[in-house]
């Protein structure tokens, strides 16, 4: 048996190689290209970035520029970074506060209606993100239903789309909460019911069973769920742009996207992308390892 398997490794290698070459040319090389541009120079005539592929010739001018933007006297990137952290943290926590009870309910108590709830929870995955934002733009517009409802309560209409932090955070929560709920649901659904029964048999009430059994067991899903919402939020520029568009609510995603189209600033955009990647690399690797472990234990 063993000999038979070992007989044709070349066959399996041939199957894997196209994918490997694809990833090499169109994933590893592009990421290196960002590095080469971040450490590259600027063509003064064309105001176009010049990639420097050889690490020996790397220049630090872009990095120094970005450093000045963030920490320098006339810093404009510093507040953007602080705002990004604040918005993302608040939005992720709100996602968790809303998402956990829903996932908990569907995983533990939905019973025969679990399928129905699951379909409804999954539905946003299949609706284009842009369509979901468009829907809220209609509702939040000056003459939209939200302001009409406020009018019923005697509150003056609010220009929700005119550059409010609240609207941006709201949009981020609305946009990314389905991902968190799915991860939480998958984790909570896997908790062995007999553990909860054991808790009850030992005399714990509903609340204490939750605190002493369910909550500790859901630490891992909460962590991966938060990760899967925070990672895209940090690269999000469209939610912000659609729901606010104002400079005083912009996040790091807006900064990078803006520099990408601006002659002379693309090198700095590359530095900022790398910075973001560097910060996120640890959580990314953690996520890969955690989900691998989870898949192996299934």
């Amino acid at each position: 048996m063993r000999a038979k398997k070992a007989k044709s490794p070349r066959f399996w290698i041939a199957l894997a190689v196209p994918g490997m070459i694809w990833l090499l040319v169109l994933f590893i090389v592009p990421v290196y290209a960002v590095l080469a541009i971040a450490m590259g120079k600027l063509d003064q005539m064309l105001e176009a970035p010049v990639a420097v592929w050889n690490p020996v010739d790397w220049s630090s001018s872009n990095v120094i520029d970005v450093w000045r933007d963030i920490f320098g006297g006339a810093s404009f990137a510093g507040p953007i970074l602080a705002r990004t952290i604040a918005y993302t943290t608040i939005a992720a926590l709100v996602c968790l506060l809303i998402g956990y009870p829903c996932a908990y309910f569907v995983a533990r108590f939905a019973g025969r209606r679990k399928g129905l709830f699951l379909v409804l929870l999954i539905a946003p995955f299949w609706i284009s993100y842009m369509m979901r934002m468009l829907a809220w733009i209609d509702l939040l517009a000056t003459g939209g239903y939200v302001n009409k409802a406020l009018g019923w309560l005697g509150i003056d209409p609010v220009n929700w789309l005119g550059g409010h932090s609240v609207t941006v955070v709201f949009g981020l929560v609305y946009g990314y909460i389905p991902y968190l709920i799915m991860v939480l649901f998958a984790g909570l659904d896997r908790i062995d019911g007999s553990l909860l029964e054991a808790g009850r048999d030992l005399g714990l009430g509903r609340v204490r069973t939750f605190i002493h059994v369910t909550l500790p067991l859901s630490r891992q899903p909460i962590l991966t769920g938060l990760l899967i919402t925070v990672l895209p939020m940090l690269g999000d520029y469209y939610t912000n742009q659609m729901l606010s568009g104002a400079a005083h609510t912009s996040m790091i995603g807006n900064l990078i996207q803006g520099q990408l189209g601006t002659p002379g600033l693309e090198g700095q955009g590359a530095v900022l992308s790398l910075l973001l990647l560097l910060v996120l690399l640890i959580p990314m690797v953690y996520y890969v390892i955690a989900t691998n472990r989870e898949a192996a234990s299934r």
């Binding site: 399996w12 990833l23 829907a135």
Partner: protein, 314 residues
């Protein structure tokens, strides 16, 4: 609204609550503490908040007027009757629909075979090189889309300059971004299958190609199908990559059109119509995917499994 009416329909379930410990074992799904009405109400409220805006947006795509908040009667005006502004007659919107379909088809046709072969190969080829590439593939799955899009933008504007921004760049970017779906899902399926089927086939004299064609591919069919559905619908909904890699109106898909025309809330109902068409496309793919997955796996896995499989959680 739906929350209260639905909650009211099943009081019988709640009255059966005082269960003795012996009973609980026969009814393992029921909570011994009675039904948590508050949690159920909360969940319904969340679902209402999550889905009602979409329903309203779709409704207003049929509005016989410009307003997004005052109903003026039903019409197909924004889909095809209006001769200048409907999705059918506005060249930009029209082109966007066909570009989305083109990108979805091309990406699925390339990414799925590539990813399936990659998964099959890596599953059997032991060593540090394949393990490294598996890790790279997983990184491509979790890297934030903006960073990925930026790297694609730079590589096509500075290194592979013969690939101009446009359809080719979009397809190359989308394939790289989506190839991890089939790779991950097929690997997971291979792990649960084990080797016994292939070994049996090999003992009966099948060669490598026959093993793949007659044994592995039929067993992997549900996984391959599920990943094709995920890739196809993922491309329909994709925004960042196509936004950064599109170059002109001719190669701009629907999601980017909605984004660029929406600034300030002046899009008009034709955009709602465009969004509704996207929604209908995704929905058709999902329903097709669900039915197909259940047929292919021949009831081996339940409906819930099929559901979670087509969102990639299975």
């Amino acid at each position: 609204m739906t929350a209260t009416s639905d909650a009211g329909t099943s009081p019988a379930a709640a009255t059966a609550v005082p269960v003795s410990p012996g009973n609980a074992r026969r009814l393992p799904r029921r909570s011994p503490w009675g039904h948590p009405w508050f949690l159920e109400g909360f969940t319904w409220l969340y679902l209402l908040w999550s889905l009602a805006p979409i329903v309203i947006a779709v409704l207003f795509s049929f509005n016989n007027g410009r307003s997004q908040s005052a109903w003026q009667g039903f019409s197909w005006r924004w889909y095809f009757t209006d001769h200048t502004n409907s999705v059918l007659h506005n060249p930009q919107l029209h082109a966007a629909v066909s570009q989305t379909v083109r990108l979805s088809v091309l990406t699925t046709l390339i990414a799925v075979p590539l990813g399936v072969a990659f998964a099959l190969g890596l599953n059997r080829w032991r060593g540090s090189l394949p393990a490294t590439f598996n890790f790279v593939m997983l990184l491509s799955y979790v890297i934030p889309e903006l960073i990925f899009g930026v790297s694609m933008f730079f590589v096509f504007t500075t290194l592979f300059t013969s690939v101009h921004l446009g359809t080719l760049a979009e397809v190359l970017g989308l394939v790289t971004w989506n190839v991890s779906w089939p790779a991950i899902i097929v690997q997971a399926r291979l792990a649960t299958l084990g080797r016994q089927y292939e070994e049996a086939a090999a003992d009966l004299g099948a060669n490598q190609f026959q093993v793949i064609r007659r044994v592995l591919l039929p067993l992997l069919a549900p996984a391959i199908f599920a990943s094709a559905v995920l890739v196809f619908s993922g491309v329909i909904d994709d925004f960042v990559i196509v936004d950064l890699l599109s170059s002109s109106a001719g190669n701009t898909p629907m999601s980017v059109i909605i984004y660029t025309t929406q600034h300030g809330g002046n899009g008009g109902p034709a955009l709602n119509a465009l969004g509704s068409i996207m929604l209908a496309m995704s929905l058709a793919i999902v329903i097709l995917g669900y039915i197909g997955y259940r047929l292919l796996s021949r009831g081996e896995r339940g409906g819930l499994d099929a559901l979670t499989a087509i969102v990639g959680e299975g």
